[in-house]
Every structure is written in C-alpha cells, then in structure tokens.
Subunit: 304 residues, 4 copies
Amino acid sequence: MEFKQILHDIYSELAEKNDNGQVASYIPELANVDPNKFGIHYSSLEGNSYGLGDHQEKFSCQSIIKVLSLCLAIKNEGVGIWKRVGVEPSGTPFNSLVQLEYEHGIPRNPFINAGAIVICDILMSQLENPKADFLAFVQKLAFNSNINYNPKISASEKAHGYRNAALINMMKSFDNIENSIEDVLDFYYDICSIEMTCEELAQTFLLFANNGCIPNSNERIITTSQSKRINAIMQCCGFYDEAGEFSFKVGLPGKSGVGGGIVAIHPGKYSVAVWSPRLNKKGNSYKGILALEMLTTKSELSIF
Amino acid sequence: MEFKQILHDIYSELAEKNDNGQVASYIPELANVDPNKFGIHYSSLEGNSYGLGDHQEKFSCQSIIKVLSLCLAIKNEGVGIWKRVGVEPSGTPFNSLVQLEYEHGIPRNPFINAGAIVICDILMSQLENPKADFLAFVQKLAFNSNINYNPKISASEKAHGYRNAALINMMKSFDNIENSIEDVLDFYYDICSIEMTCEELAQTFLLFANNGCIPNSNERIITTSQSKRINAIMQCCGFYDEAGEFSFKVGLPGKSGVGGGIVAIHPGKYSVAVWSPRLNKKGNSYKGILALEMLTTKSELSIF
Amino acid sequence: MEFKQILHDIYSELAEKNDNGQVASYIPELANVDPNKFGIHYSSLEGNSYGLGDHQEKFSCQSIIKVLSLCLAIKNEGVGIWKRVGVEPSGTPFNSLVQLEYEHGIPRNPFINAGAIVICDILMSQLENPKADFLAFVQKLAFNSNINYNPKISASEKAHGYRNAALINMMKSFDNIENSIEDVLDFYYDICSIEMTCEELAQTFLLFANNGCIPNSNERIITTSQSKRINAIMQCCGFYDEAGEFSFKVGLPGKSGVGGGIVAIHPGKYSVAVWSPRLNKKGNSYKGILALEMLTTKSELSIF
Amino acid sequence: MEFKQILHDIYSELAEKNDNGQVASYIPELANVDPNKFGIHYSSLEGNSYGLGDHQEKFSCQSIIKVLSLCLAIKNEGVGIWKRVGVEPSGTPFNSLVQLEYEHGIPRNPFINAGAIVICDILMSQLENPKADFLAFVQKLAFNSNINYNPKISASEKAHGYRNAALINMMKSFDNIENSIEDVLDFYYDICSIEMTCEELAQTFLLFANNGCIPNSNERIITTSQSKRINAIMQCCGFYDEAGEFSFKVGLPGKSGVGGGIVAIHPGKYSVAVWSPRLNKKGNSYKGILALEMLTTKSELSIF
C-alpha cells in the first residue's frame, strides 16, 4: 500500500475519534490550545511529502526540540558531552529528582528534563549568542527562516517552573552546571517554546533519516555515526517512561513533546510528524502514538 | 567491505587483547570456564555463515535463552502475557527487587530475572511437559537436536538462588505467580542452563531477522508483528541497565547472558553471536560488546 | 487523678465508639476474631493492677512478641547482634524490601519483619531447643505457665507468608541468615502466634519499666542499660512507619501487633496493654492508640 | 555520683582524645573554626549550672536553632502546622529529595532541611518582621539579649545552598511554600547562623525540660503538651539518620547542628549542651555524642 493511502486511512479513522487524553495544563499558555487539533505529515528521502489536517499549523515543539539541541551540542563538542549526561532510559517520569540524587547529579539521558537542561548549559558555554545561534541552527536544518520562539509560552513555563528549578539546583550542587542557573533556565524555556508545523518538523528531522546530512542542501551537519547514535537515544529514551511501549508498538526512533507533537524517523527512508494536543497519562500525545502505531502496522515497516 | 573480512579483522584485533572483565562467579560451575575463550559467528538470511575462534564450542546460554522462552509464550498465548509483565527498560540491575515492590509485583520486562520467571510460570501453565516441550521448541528453532540442558549448571544456580527465590516470593505475594514456587524456579534454572555454540545461536536467532519464520524450513513460528516486537524489547531491555549504552554503541537489538554470550540481530539481514566469558561491571561480556561495536562501525550498518 | 479513674474514663468513652479500622485480613485465622473486642490493663511497679473489658481474654500477640525475642537475644549474646540488625527507624512499611536491598541485607531495626526474622535466626543458633526454650523464657517473664503457641495461627500465617519468604531469601543472599530458611520462618511464625491477655502482657512488660528485673521475683534478666536500650528502640521503631506519630501523641515506648494489641511502658512507673482488633492504615490498633493518647493526656505523664 | 563530678570526668577523658571526625566543610565559613574546640555545659531546673572547656565561647547553632523555630511556629499556630510537615523519622540523610518527591512535597519532620524550610515559610506568614521578631523570641527564651545572627555565615551558606534551593523549589512545585523562595531561604540561612555558647544553649533549652515555661521568669511559652511533643520529635528525628542510634546510646531527646553543637534534655530535670566541631559521617558531632553517652551511662539516668 502506498504511504499516501495509509496516511489517508489513518487520518480518516482517527480524525473524529474521541480520546480521553488531557491537554497539558501545567503551563497555562499550552492549555489554551484547541484540544481537537489533529495533523500528520510524511516526508521521505525520495522527496515525497504530504500531509493531512492541521499539518501546516504551528504548535509548541516543547521536548521535541531537545533532539535538535542535543544535535548541536554533539556537533560542537563530540563525545565530551557524555561525561555529563548518560544514554540510559530513566524508567521514571520526565521530571523525577530521585535518580538524580542517587546518581550524583548525572541525568540518565539528554531527553529527560534534567538532561536537556545540562545540554542547554553545554550550549551556553559553546555559543557566543545562544538564543540567536540556536534559532539559526534550527532554521538551517528546517531549510526555513520562518521559525521562531514564542515568548508567551516561555514566560508562562518559567513562571511555573519550580520543578525544573529544583532539578538544576540539584545538579549545580553536584557541580554539573557551569553557567548561571537563571540564564540556563531562561535558555531552556526559550528553546522549548519554538513553534513549528508538522510539515516543518517532518522536513527538519529528515536529517536523522539521512545519516546526518540535510537532504535539501546535502550539507553534512553531524557524522553518520553521530546521527545513528541520536536515533538510538530516541529509540530508548524518547518517550519518558513509555519508551519501551513506543518501541514495542511503533518500532521507530521518535520524540514526543507535551505540546502534543511526535516525530518519528525510519532511518534511510522517511520521517513523520503528528500533532494532537490531548496527552495520555505518561505525557505523550494519545492520538499521536495511535497514528504511528497504525502507520507501522499498515505499512509493515519498522526498524525491527 | 565484506562481512567475512570484517569478522576476520575483529577477531584478529580482539583475540589477544586483554580485558579487565571478570568471569561470573556467583555460580560456581560458571566460574570454571576458561576465561580466554573467544568465538564469533555470523549467519545471514542469504545463507552465508562463517565463524572464528571458539565459535563451535558449547557454552551456557543463561539469559540469552529468555528470548526463546518469551517467543514460545507469545506464540502460545499472544497479547495475554502483557498483563503480567511490562515492556519498559528497568533502569536498575537485573535482580533488583525495588521496582517490583513499587510496581506491585509486575516486572518491568521479560528479560530481567523477575520477568523471565513470570514467563516461566506462564509456560508451565501452557505446556504439558514444560522441560521436554521447551527443549523440543529450542531444538526445532535451531534445526538441531544436539542441544540440551546442563544439569550441573542448573543445580549450581539453584543452590545459590536466594535472590531469585526472593523475587518469586515477592511476585507470589502480589498474586503474579500461578504455579508452585519450587517448580517454577526449577524450570527457570533448567532453561538458563541450556548450552549452545555461537554457530547454533546465530542460526537460531535468524528467526527474528526473518520476521518470525525459521529460514531453513520456512516454517512460521510467530507473526511478523510479534517478531518485530520481540526485537523491540531486545533493543530497549536486552542488556540490563546497559541497554541504552548497547543501543547507542552497537545499534542492533540483542541479548546477553552471564555465560559471556551475546546475540544481536539485524532485521531483514543477519544475526551474529559472540562469546567471551569475561564480563564488565554491568554483567555483559566485555569483549562481546566491543566486537559488536566494531562490527556495526566497520560495516556502517545498524538499524539506525 | 487516679489511674484507676483514668482507665475507667477511657474505657467508658471508647467502649461504644465506632471506628473505621479493619481487622487484619491477610491471615485468615486472624480475620475470625470479633472486631469489637476491647480490653485495657494497667500494672504498676508499686503493685497496682487493674483492667477493664476483655482484658483477661487471650489474643494473638504477633509483633508484640518481637520485644521478648529481642530481649532473649540480647540477654544471650549482648552487643554482637548489632552487627546484623540496626536500631534506626525504617521510614517504610513493616514488610518493605526496598531498604533491605539498598542496605545490603541488614534490616533497619529488630521490629520490622526482616529484623525480627534475623533475631529468630540468632536465637536458633543460640538455643538448644528454640521453640521450647523461647516459650519457657516468655512464661518465666510472665510469671505464668499458662501461655502457649497457637498452631492454627502459625500455620495460617505460614501458608500466606510469601512476603516474609522474600525478605529472608533476600537476607540469605547477603549472607545475613545462618540457619535453614524454612526452619527460621517456622520459628518466626511460631513465636508470633503466642497468645496472651492484656493482663499478662502488662505484667510481662513491667520488666522494661523495672530496668530489666522481673518485679515479682526480682530476678535480673538483662542489665539496666540493655533494658533502657530496648525501650529506646521501642520508642523509635515500635510502630512501623507511625513510630514518630505514636511518640508525638503518646510519648511512651511501646510495641503494637496486627492482632490489635499494644503495650506501652513508662520506665520506672508502669506498663499498660490495650487490645482492640480494628487496625488503622498503618497496621496499628485504631482504638488502642487512641486509648494510650488519652491515658498520657489525662495523666499528664509521659517520658517527655 | 554528682553531675559536677560526672561532667569533670567526661571532660578529662575526652578533652585530649583524638577523633577522626571532620569539620563541616560545605560552608567555607564553618571550615575556619578551630576543630579542637570542646565545651560542655549542664543546667538543671533546680538551678545548678556548670560547664567546662570552651563552654562560654559562641559557635554556630545551625540546625539546633530549628527546635526554637518549631517552638515559635507551634506557639503561634498550634496544630495547623502538621498539615504541612510530618513527625516521622526520615530514614535518609538530612538533605534528601527522594522522600519529598514520593510524598508530594510534605517533608517527613521539621528538623530535616526541607521541614525546617517549611517552618520558616510558616513563620514568615505569621511574623510582621520575621528576622527581628525571631531574634527577639530567641533572646527572650535565652534570657539574654547578647545573641545575634552572623551575617558572614548566612552569606556563606547562601552562596553554596543549591541543595536547599532544590528542596524549596520542589516543595513550591507541590504548593507547600507560600512566600517568595528567595525570602524564605534568606530567613532560613539567617536563623541557622545564630551563634550561642554551650551555657546559653543549655539555659535556653531548659524550657523543654520545664514543660514549656521559661525557668527564670516562669513565663509560659507553650503548653505542657506542646513541650512534650517537641521533645518527642527531637527523640525520633533530632539526629538525621542517626536518630535511632542516639536514642539507643544516649536515651534523651536532643538536637545536633553541623556547627558541632548538640543539646539534650532530660524532661523534668536538666538540659546539657556540648560543642566539638568534628563531625561523624552522619553529620553529628563525634565527641558530642560520645560525651552524652558517657553522661547517661555514668549517671544511669535517661528517659528510658
């Protein structure tokens, strides 16, 4: 079956389906989003690209962006970053402090909040103008200058970010934060506030299906090995304490965000982005996971 | 580069290399193995098959066999088993009781000890003659009747199995064990004592590279989807609390055992088995992981 | 106010009071007890002794007996036992395995199940005929030969004792159990099954109000310092994860059992035993704690 | 034996004794104290008062002061505070975040850092001018206007207080902090910086030996029951994860501070303060605990 047809089937089946998921409410600005939004977009290395529903509407990337901040940190610093953050699944919710205490301030992986904050700290030490430089990097990967921060979202998150403040202070107490706590948190909230459409996300993440080269420009951003390793981390750690479940049901590396977006990658083949703001209890898009499960079931293609 | 050449290079480089790993000592019988044994064997779906070193010498499969017991339980019972065991990485050592207590007797996944014991309990309820039936199943997958239990090893494990007795009693207290504790533990130690060579293991695990069909006979054992899902669990949970690291460095689904063996699978392509008894601190073969990392680096092929 | 009057007031106020507590149901035999039983008995070093309600009816001592097994172990072995069990509050439920794993098989204190099992193991190594010798010891302290085991209760507990089997196997895996697991568990269930009345318990525990001498016979059982230390452990660890609450509200060293009994001691003055089978969520007698809180509030006497 | 003689014997025996303890180094200002300082002071309700060594030299009270902040909070608000902090021993180090996460932001007791911070938050909501009002309260209890904050110590603690910042942010995320995080932490560091001598501490803590009345003025500060309960909390929670050990060895309610001070109380009788800056691994004064153990052993008097 053609992917176009599969996408169409998935969209038809899910568009009107009710789900019990809840829109993220801990950030007031996110709670304002229409919970019934639903979009999906597919982009292949062969140049195919099509989408359905709200696939061209911007939404808050949130944790999805952590793949791109990790990518930039790896590009700039290579293996040095692995002294400060691990690559193991956490087995606990995304904002847990428990493991951080037992493991002396070294976060389990770069996608739980603590790990993403360490990556922000690393970027702040690397970049001359972190906020501008990082946006430029994302725009370049996306081949699109029409991507930006949403200052309302970042302000809203910051005003309620006590848990993240706890995490970064904990890591600072173990000497795993170099820059000012306030500056690192500001930068962290900024990058999480970046808004993109499903189409833009699918396009951008083709990089990881393409062994680290931007397909449009053929510019190499990271090495083949680095690209594979980012995919491996997505596979094991991309969905908080539901990573195994996603791997089991969908069988692709991917990353979710509390804005309701999910991106998944079939290395060597395609990337796909879904958006539906209602989240399951683990904090991942309820309908998004369903859509991707249908995609790999119907196509009978997964990395496994 | 040809795989034959790659294997040769790996073997040359590693055969004489000293490593700091320690042979598993908690089971006296395992401690008697020559720590310098080293073998590697590659089998492809196209019918290629070659190995080096001690690749035709039997060793104790230990936890590697848990993939086959899971396979049989899934074949017999389908999705029903997932009410009694999860598919998430544990984030803790293989014999930890902590998570079991917090999560009310449901093990995180079928590859940590507690989960493998639950699978044994399921098999005991399914099979008329568990010990004979399971061996017949393994011999069929291996296309080889020359595979057997090692009663010395299973007796040795049983005599020191207080931690496993703690695990199964804990699960029984949460009503997650149906059969007699003693019988289930006996069966568990029996299956872990099965001995195979690298060549036999590589051959047997081709099943999971071949979407659930035995390549030699073309007999379907499990569905494509079931086969993919077993690979997904291997990817996220096959190496205890080093699963992320293996995924990151090697990029293939795989499973290790404290006997020093590791099997890895490239779905659609090949399987490979390594044996070197010295283990790293996480309980995985030190040289085995190194060999597989070299294999996917040199071949530039991984699922990512 | 006279203690006699205080006891009378407490009894009048509580006898008809309904409470939401639940009789222990995990042991079928215990669940058969009439939940409305209520008795209280007071014995002073000056020789005063009076009780009300069901104070002369036998009930299952359960964990209360752990004070006497600790007493005998200390008498026989002195400080040697503290290498194998601690004196710190556990901060977790009475049958938790979590701490045992983190702390390498050394239970936090002799009153949580794990610790009491270690004390049983110590006694088994000390005593020629553990079951007979321990009963003789209790009868001597109680100045009463009419005290015995209840084999139905011990058999009932044993048949459902998976959690305790998990605890002892865990400790055995850390080499903190010397004797056969089955024998130690049998002995543990036996001693917990001893039945006494409130009157007998109050009389027996006067030992700890009297610096280690039996008041009736003036026979010294343990030293003053040992007696004080047993009281200190009761103060900090006598009520599972409600020890602080009991200390805060009642202000006396004491020990509870799931049979619904509680004994408390005012060193140098008196001991008091209460029995009411309905338990609160922490596993302590709901009405028993209330009665003792009223006792120290009305008498304005506590150790603090 | 007279207490005067006992004190003299203890001082002689311990003054020259070397111990392996380490002066608290996490606060640079504290690390500057002469580690060989040693003082002890005894004050009885009968009016006896004597001390030896450095008993009239000021040192940093640190956590000892948390008994007085709890006292003021109870005086002002009564039982209302127990909705926001518990009375159970923590079973974990003083600055652990683990329990705080599992127990939804409610600290185990008012003497671990998290609990003391909550008490500071409560006081900030109660007091018009927290810093001045609290000092006035302490001076009144001490019957001594010559007591003050040490701004160098509080500034030094604040500059390294990442762990406490983590704790308060964690609690704020669970809505258990009302005031500004920065203000509460400032107030917390201020009160911990108060300096007193052994003589002043022994005098001040007579309040808790005297059922809540200041002995000198006979002014009632808290009720008898409140005073007894503060003693009960000291008994179970006054020494971090060494509370059981202190209870076991010393048998008196007490409180330690990382400045090397310890105060203990014999209700109805006396209070005693010791100072020796070298701490054991649990963060309590090595020589201080030894001195108090000798005191209750030689006097054969403890609450048990």
